[in-house]
Symmetry: C2
Subunit: 415 residues, 2 copies
């Protein structure tokens, strides 16, 4: 079967993105997973706090729970008539001129309105120090600034029924802490999208054996699997496929995934098997106005979306960022990643009429500007696998730009 | 046993960092893991490419392998006398006025010095298109810019014996691709540091049951476990411990880890059990000039370093970033993370004499400046767990700064 040629009219990145995003829809299923296993997962529902946090007014410091009126004219000496530890449910009473020793996090006794930290009492001074806990009195040396100083008020962090996290939120360390703090022990998350990934090409060697003329070591599946896993997919990586249309079709028949990502065989060459197989199944190939990553294609194979990415390592990795990663976002209901604005730290050329994607190293200058320097060791050829290894981000240069000067603004993302 | 009080002389962040870094030494052990399972691991040795990459000159495009001298005066029509696919070891000959069809990645025939892409031939034009492969001649419509155009030269990416990655490199998607591309099927990595993490405190509730007066839900172990895993540790998370010195000591006797991280019980309160237990074992507690995160401590328990972090969620998380994360870097031989320079996007106050750490949201302005805005919903109290959930980075404000104005420069890191 000959390749379709010439490719249909070229598409912008956004046009092709919209096309492939149409292949998937947000997963409506919900899994409940223990919070300790939820890191990196995506919330399926808004989370509402069942309680106020804190549930009770408590002390922000180790020190003394006092009435502000008693200490406003410090230095003043108070009788210590009680003790509240963190975790205690005690609510000791104290009269005028009296106070209660209190630990960080312990509930503020009802009589008190203010906390004086140890550092603002005589307990904190003297060369030998003194163990708190054995005193009958304490001298407040510095008056608190206002009523309520060092008191954490009930509901200060969340009111009961406050929405603490919205559906689509990725569970970072901080989000996990927040969900734990409102009492969740398991969380509703979206299933991980199952993504099958496979490189294709007769030239690929996968077992590390010496290369013959015409051969290269397969690398795309490793990069894609790592990016997919980092973006929340359940990755099924297969060994590279030979350029055998029948075998590829048979594998596609068998594969069980939410999405299949293939690399290689996508161009307009006579042996571009992925292209031929997917076109034969009613697929679509586009010339996308991007460098690298121009030849892109997709099909729906027995209900499963299949994406065909170019085989050059850099093209494949950047095509992943542009097209596959947003499909995962959509499946998971996660917001799309934002672009940053960076300053080019060097000059380079860019092709007319095509968006250029450039692996970069990102840093900041002394003035706080984000600086992007191409990570290429040499040139900008799409086969330089070293550039991706050295990059921590990538830039996007507009279609109409043919030369980037040092100091120009470019769109950038962290990798 | 009473707490030691007052704390010994305060330390700067750097002084305390140096102290705890002295507790661990770089792991010299090497594990060999399959490349497909190596994502996030840290290389134990430099990796040298056993081969030149590419191993042979090859075509960067689908098109025709030509002699530059034959096409410099394009348009010119050449006879097509052969065909080289990617993965082919063929090396067809062609005489003057002849060319060979070539696919992307296929080895450049010995006779040829230049590749003309399909787009620069008559094969690319005409409304119906034409399948490449069935032609006897092709007309080169545009001359290549120079000899060697669209040729990828042997060794262009790596020379044989080139050092492609150094020990201490974290295996990102790009690094995995690079290691695969030079033929590695397994990689030498450092063992994951085994880190036991446990929260302590009688006030902690871990099963989601309703909170009584004085109680809070435990959250630190979830944040720390997520951060530790993200930083390459093999995490052993235990349920929260009660304030029971004997039980804590018994657990420390049993725990099998490269590093133990405890939270809570580290302050100067009378019930600060972690402090008491670690001091009893010859440990050291310091007042560190940082907000939040002032009370820090460590001990070596039967040969295992134990770190005591404050119990406030934000203090614990930021203390992790300052002290635990660098210990992992040291164990793994990974370079320390760098600080970025950002611009404060709002005004806030900072305590005199203490470094201030502020969870922030990072974005960029229209001029490419990295902007840091505090992620606090309200105030800057260290108990606001929501601020960490909303942050994607944190800022560090100098000890001598008491007020940050919008537009001031601050040190920042991504979380």
């Amino acid at each position: 079967m000959p390749s379709q040629f010439p490719p249909r009219e070229a598409r912008s990145i956004e046009q092709y993105q919209a096309e492939v995003l149409g292949l998937v829809r947000p997963d409506s299923r919900v899994e409940s997973v223990p919070l300790a296993a939820a890191s990196g997962r995506v919330l399926a529902r808004d989370v509402v706090s069942p309680v106020s946090i804190p549930v009770f007014a408590n002390s922000a410091m180790d020190g003394y729970a006092v009435r502000y009126a008693d200490v406003v004219a410090a230095p003043v000496t108070l009788r210590v008539v009680g003790d509240v530890a963190a975790g205690s449910s005690a609510d000791p009473m104290a009269g005028p001129g009296e106070c209660v020793r209190i630990m960080t996090g312990a509930p503020l006794p009802t009589f008190a309105d203010t906390v004086v930290p140890l550092e603002d009492t005589d307990a904190a001074f003297g060369p030998a120090g003194r163990a708190p806990g054995d005193e009958a009195t304490t001298t407040i040396t510095h008056a608190p600034q206002a009523v309520g100083t060092y008191v954490r008020h009930a509901g200060e962090d969340f009111a009961a029924d406050a929405r603490v996290a919205v559906a689509g939120t990725e569970i970072t360390a901080g989000v996990a802490a927040e969900l734990a703090a409102v009492g969740l022990v398991s969380v509703p998350v979206r299933p991980r999208p199952v993504v099958a990934v496979r490189s294709t090409g007769d030239e690929l060697v996968t077992d590390g054996s010496p290369l013959g003329r015409g051969q290269i070591y397969e690398s795309n599946s490793f990069a894609l699997a790592a990016m997919l896993a980092g973006d929340g997919a359940d990755v099924r990586r297969s060994e590279a496929a030979r350029d055998d249309a029948e075998a590829l079709a048979a594998w596609l028949d068998e594969v069980d995934a939410d999405l299949v990502v293939l690399t290689g065989g996508a161009s307009v060459g006579a042996y571009d098997v992925v292209r031929d197989v997917l076109l034969g199944a009613g697929g679509t190939f586009r010339s996308v106005r991007v460098q690298p990553g121009k030849p892109q294609g997709w099909a729906v194979w027995k209900g499963t979306p299949v994406l065909s990415l170019p085989g050059n390592p850099l093209s494949a990795a950047l095509s992943y960022q542009l097209f596959v990663q947003p499909m995962l976002d959509r499946l998971l209901g996660r917001p799309a990643r934002e672009w940053l604005t960076a300053v080019a730290g060097a000059a380079w050329t860019s092709p007319a009429g095509r968006r250029q994607l450039v692996p970069v190293r990102l840093s900041t200058g002394a003035d706080g500007r984000l600086i992007a320097v191409p990570a290429h060791r040499r040139g900008s050829a799409s086969h330089l696998v070293s550039s991706l290894a050295e990059a921590d981000g990538y830039c996007s240069v507009g279609e109409d730009v043919t030369a980037v000067a040092a100091g120009d603004l470019v769109a950038a993302r962290w990798l």
